[in-house]
Structure formats: C-alpha cells, structure tokens
Amino acid sequence: MMCGRAIISRAAPLLACLGLLGVWQIGALILNTDSFPTAWEAIRAIPSIVGDKESLINILASLRRMAIGFGVGVIVSIPLGLMMGRSRGVASFFNPLLMVIYPVPKAALMPIIMLWLGIGDVAKTLVIFLGVSLPVIYHSFQGAKAVEEKMLWSGAAMGLSAAERMIRIVLPAALPEILTGCRTGLVLALITMVTSEMIARQSGAGNILFNALDMGQYETVYAMIIIIGGMGIGLDAAFENLRGRLVRWSEPGFEIPVSFA
C-alpha cells in the first residue's frame, strides 16, 4: 500500500503535465482557430526544431550563456549575501542600493547594455548575471542572519578566525536558504535568457520563439514554449535533486521555487 502511494506521489507531476496537455488539446479542439494549434500538433513540431542543426546550436548557445551567467552570479552573490547577513554595516551599505535595483526589470537594461557591449554574448550574459544575483544575495543574507549566535561564539572560543567562522559555520548553516535562492535564481536565469534574446534578436531560444511568432508559424511558437517550459521544469527538478543530497539534514522550507521575471 505504501509502495503504491509512493509511486503515485512520484508520478503526480507527470500526471499533472499530461493533464495540462490534455486540457490544452481539448481547449484547442473547441476553439479551433489557426493561432491555437492542439497540443499534439505542437509536440509533433518539436523534432523538426531539435533536429535542425542551426536551431540546436542556437538553443545550446542560450544554455551556455545561461550557465555562465548563473555560475558567475552565484559565485559573486553568496559571499556578498553572507557578509551582509553577518555585519550590520555591510547590510545597511548595500540594502538601499538593492532595493532600488530590485523592481527594475533586468532584461529592460538590455537595450542600454547593447549600446555599449554590442548584441553579442557579453551583453546577454551580463543581463543574466544581474537577474540571478538579486535573489541569491537576498536568500544568502536571510540565511546568514538566522545563524545561531551561540555557534559563532563557540567557534570563536575555540579559536576560529573570522574567515574560518564564515566558511565553517555560517556557510553550512545558511546552505538550505542559499540553495533556495539558487533555485529561484535558476528559474530566473532561464527567464532572463529568453527575454534578453527576445530583445536582442540575434540568436538563441528566445529568438526562435519570437521570430516564429512574427512569421506566424504557430506550431513552432507552441513547440518552443513546450521546449523552454520543459527546460525550466527539468532544470528545476535536477537542482532539487542536488539540493536534496546536499542538505538532507534540513527540512525543505519552500519546496516549490518562486519564479521571478
């Protein structure tokens, strides 16, 4: 009985996917317009996109930019967030700046950054970096702030230097929260990737999507939506898996990421 239940709860997201595709299929059949193909037609268009060498290179280039932007963003943001969480001065130094930057859509900086850096990889990666940084900084900040003082005191009493305390006490203690931030950052990186490519129409997954929209190739539009959505769900699941291994000792707070734009 327990086994059956476990299988059902494992398969639930898959069932949900199938259910949503089913709703789409029925909705499309009822509406029956050109601009809204059925789910089946959209799925059938996927192999022709993935099979096409140029689109595949485009999509892989997008993923590469995303990986670089995400990686650099995480490496820069975690130390900054941790320092903000442990030192009041650093926190009040950076907080207002971050508050001002937060509501600005990072992809909207694209036209300005493009003027300086051109429409190449650098501009897009920079925008992804900016998008990823904020949630990671924020969550690392929250995580480091919640570290129990007593542990730090014991660490100091046992002769750990400030830097050692940061790495051996604050970092592990804040890890669950940091990983929550990284998960949000991952979804965000994907979103920023799509939007930046949509604004600088040169290459990438977002470019294929919006070019197809402009040219009225509706099957391609929906197929790309499925591909990008699948990437989001797949990356998220992979990250969740990793997170489960790294911080098995902590119970998950938000088990579903909160996506930002």
Binding site: R88, P96, V100, A108, I191, F210, I225, S259
Partner: protein, 255 residues
Amino acid sequence: MNLRAVTIDVLLGIVPIAVLIALWQALVSFGYAPATLLPPPGPVFMRLVQQLFTDTFQEEILATLFRLFAGFSIAVIFGVTIGLLAAASPAFNAVVRPIVRVLAPLPKVALYPALLLLLGFNHQSKIMLVAADALFPILLSTYYGASMVEQKLIWSAMAAGTPRGQILLKVVLPAAVPSILTGCRIGLVISCIVVFLAEMITSTDGLGHVLVTAARTFQAIDMFVPLITISLLGLILNGLLEGLRSYLLRGFPEV
C-alpha cells in the same frame, strides 16, 4: 534601535547609490563613454522631472499602473483562495500540488506569445501575464502560512461551535496574513518587472513602450527615464505595502 543608529544606517545606505551616480558622472566627464550613449545623470534627472509633468508621460504611467494593479489583484484573489483551500482540504491539495509543481518553475514569459495569440494585443494578454507570474509566490506563501496555523486555535474555534467554513475565514485567514503579505511583496516586485517586459515586447503605450521607442530612435536620455520611473514606482508601491502591513499586523508580535 536609537535614532543615531538609524541615521548612520541611512547615511551608509546612501553611499553606494551616490558612488554609483558619481561613477556614472565620471564616466561621461572623463570621456570614457560618449554622451550620446551614456547621458550624464544631471540631464537624465532633469528630463525625468520634466517628463513627469507632461500629460503624455502621465498617461503612459497610468497605463502601466492599470495593468500592474489588474494583474496583481487577480493574482492576489486567486493565490489566496487556492492557497487557503489547498491548506484546508487534502483532496484539493492532492490535485493542486502537482499542477503547481509543474507550473511554478515554468518561465511564464515564454507563455506570452501564446497569450498574445489567444487574447490579442490589448490589455488582457499583459494583465494575464502579470497575474500568472505574480500568482505563484502569493499562492505558495498563503499555503505555507495557512498550513502553519496553530492547531489549538482551530480546535478552540471548533469547540466554540464555529462552522467549518467560518473557521477558514475567521481563524486561518487572519493567522496567515503575515505570510500572505510576504508573498504579496514578492508578487508586487514581479508584477513591476513583468508589466514592463510585456510592454516592451508588444505595446502601444506604457513605460516599457517608451523605453523601446527611445531605443529604436537612439534617444539615450529617454531610455533611462522609464527605467528610473519603474524603479521609483516599485519603491513607492513597496512602501505602501509596508504601510498596509504594519497597519494590518498592528496586534501581531514583531516578525
């Protein structure tokens, strides 16, 4: 926290912003960036103030605000309702949870072309996109807030003879308010970002459209103005929400 500490905090906080603006000015003054690509901060802020008093720019702001609030309100209504129901009913939860799990990490911007094709180029598609993006943080934090409500409170209400439906409204909802407001805050920031993006993609008015028009005509000054405006709008709305929070939570212990 005394007044002096607060003053020091504020002063410290101004420093990086001031440094950023000074750096911006320096880049232009020392000729590292031509003024056509990076206009100096002075003229940009002058232009912002000047624009804020023109009718056309005010109309753009109003268009953006309308979409933002419409989408955000839809997200709040659905997010809070679904979140509460999911916390209250295991059957509903079993259905909703996997769907949310699939939809939450989906990049909603990728859905925008579909929304455009289905709902047209008017307000609806943008409002829907804002609602879709702001929905999940609000839904999730409502759910977590509602499922963390102390069981004793519910038992007391049941013992006092409150009907089940009433318990949800009178006990669970108020107890979940702090968490809901946290979700709303994230949702609000997201709404600001998304409404701007949607307007950049296809629009005939709104702040995002102002930016795109300026970019197409290489009016660097006019590109900065809508960006600063949306940042200010975000700050103001955040401040208002903060005010609402401290009013609603006046009885709660400090969180």
